[in-house]
């Protein structure tokens, strides 16, 4: 590994409508995580159970499509508070599997899948405190760049650990990122 900057870079990872495979792939960096840890502060991640997306994040890796109102709000927040936004993996890049529902009526689908076609508590926010809602699905699961501007796209399902390492290393060092063809394939 070549030289990193002296001060630690703040890194966040976010999990939206995805299967966590991209986060698993990130963990598959194995011993490289130890090297990365010397140069990076993990400030928000499902891996560390942070509750609030902080201000002034340098790099954020976003896994998953934007599927519901809660994720939409988080996507907007992370864009406002981060310098570099990375769409990590096919769901964030194209919608991928979560977007397979886009041809269906999302409301009816939730009722069919979770309640045999009936209403159930929490689905309809009327008269409920916001904390008791089931976040309402958007009509379509959207790629991240259809919601907020995205700086870097890292396709793959999931992107391999080598791709993630190459991307994160470049971003942490503030270098331009040029991935070879083999590292930027959908699927």
């Amino acid at each position: 590994m070549t030289e990193f900057k002296n001060e630690k870079v703040s890194l966040a990872t976010v999990w939206l409508s995805g299967c966590s495979g991209c986060h698993m792939s990130f963990l598959d960096l194995d011993e490289h995580l130890l090297e990365l840890e010397k140069h990076v502060r993990l400030v928000f991640s499902p891996l560390a159970d942070h509750k609030r997306f902080p201000e002034g994040v340098d790099v954020v890796l976003v896994e998953g499509a934007v599927g519901n109102v809660e994720q939409l709000a988080l996507a907007r927040t992370l864009r406002e508070r981060s310098r570099v936004v990375v769409a990590l993996g096919d769901c964030a890049v194209t919608g991928n599997v979560p977007a397979l529902r886009n041809r269906l009526d999302s409301e009816a689908m939730v009722r069919t899948v979770y309640a045999g076609g009936m209403d159930f508590p929490g689905l309809d926010p009327a008269g409920l405190d916001e904390k008791e809602w089931v976040p309402r699905l958007l009509p379509s699961a959207l790629p991240l760049h259809r919601v907020v501007p995205v700086d870097v796209f890292l396709p793959g399902c999931p992107p391999g650990p080598q791709s993630i390492l190459a991307a994160v290393t470049a971003l942490v060092r503030g270098e331009p990122l040029v991935l070879p063809e083999a590292m930027r394939r959908f699927g």
């Binding site: 096919d90 041809r103 063809e181 394939r185």
Partner: protein
């Protein structure tokens, strides 16, 4: 057959009269992408990926359906052409539902490979996600309209090589669809011989053999030439 000379990317080259630009360009080692072209089938000029610039006309020419002419001055990779090719593939990806991660030909797909080759890491256009069916009525083959790019290679292979003409097109523009016989379930077709040529020539996961639905199997579109050559040269005798 006469010889013509033309200029290709500032190089003077010669070609045989009657050859297509695409043939000549590839013979000269230039990598021109195509999806609807397949050696052994007639040309369709449908995917437009092989468009080139020719001096003296503002129109872009599809190299596969343009015969070479004396004195042509052709450019294959100008900034504009590269930009258009990227747009074309992105439009193909947006037009139907190409979910590579759950596709029988993931990692072995011409569209997927081409996207990577052209440097496409996301699609700028809004995906249409049309509500299209999957025809799994045939005992051996599956036709998934969601993954079809309408290149027509299956239609031409079925007609020109197998001679059955089971497959054809229906509709126009974005509404176009591959149909079986008179738009009926594949399993009910009386003209389909079950030869599987359409499976081998399909560049995506739109037509796959049922036993390969779990993926991991390479398609072999190159076998067409072997069949056609065998017929022409009467290699097989019995």
């Amino acid at each position: 057959m006469g010889v013509v000379t033309l200029t290709l990317n500032n190089q003077l080259i010669s070609a045989r009269e009657g050859q297509s630009l695409l043939e000549v360009i590839r013979e000269n080692g230039v990598d021109l992408p195509t999806l609807c072209h397949l050696d052994g089938l007639s040309e369709r000029g449908g995917c437009r990926l092989c468009v080139v610039e020719a001096e003296g006309t503002s129109r872009l020419l599809a190299a596969c359906v343009t015969p070479v002419q004396e004195g042509m001055n052709i450019r294959t990779h100008t900034e504009r052409l590269v930009r258009y090719r990227k747009m074309l593939v992105e439009l193909l990806l947006a037009e139907r539902t190409h979910v590579c991660s759950v596709c029988a030909v993931n990692g072995r797909c011409e569209l997927q490979a081409l996207a990577a080759r052209l440097g496409i890491d996301h699609v700028r256009y809004e995906p249409l996600h049309p509500d299209l069916p999957v025809d799994a009525s045939h005992g051996r083959f599956v036709l998934d309209h969601n993954r079809c790019i309408l290149c027509g290679r299956c239609v031409r292979a079925c007609d020109e090589v197998e001679g059955a003409h089971t497959l054809d097109f229906m509709g126009r523009g974005v509404q176009s669809r591959i149909i079986v016989d008179l738009d009926q379930p594949w399993g009910s077709s009386r003209s389909c011989t079950g030869c599987g040529k359409c499976v081998q020539v399909c560049p995506t996961g739109a037509i796959v053999a049922r036993e390969n639905i779990a993926g991991g199997v390479e398609k072999r579109p190159d076998f067409l030439l072997r069949i056609l050559e065998g017929r022409q040269k009467r290699i097989w005798r019995w």
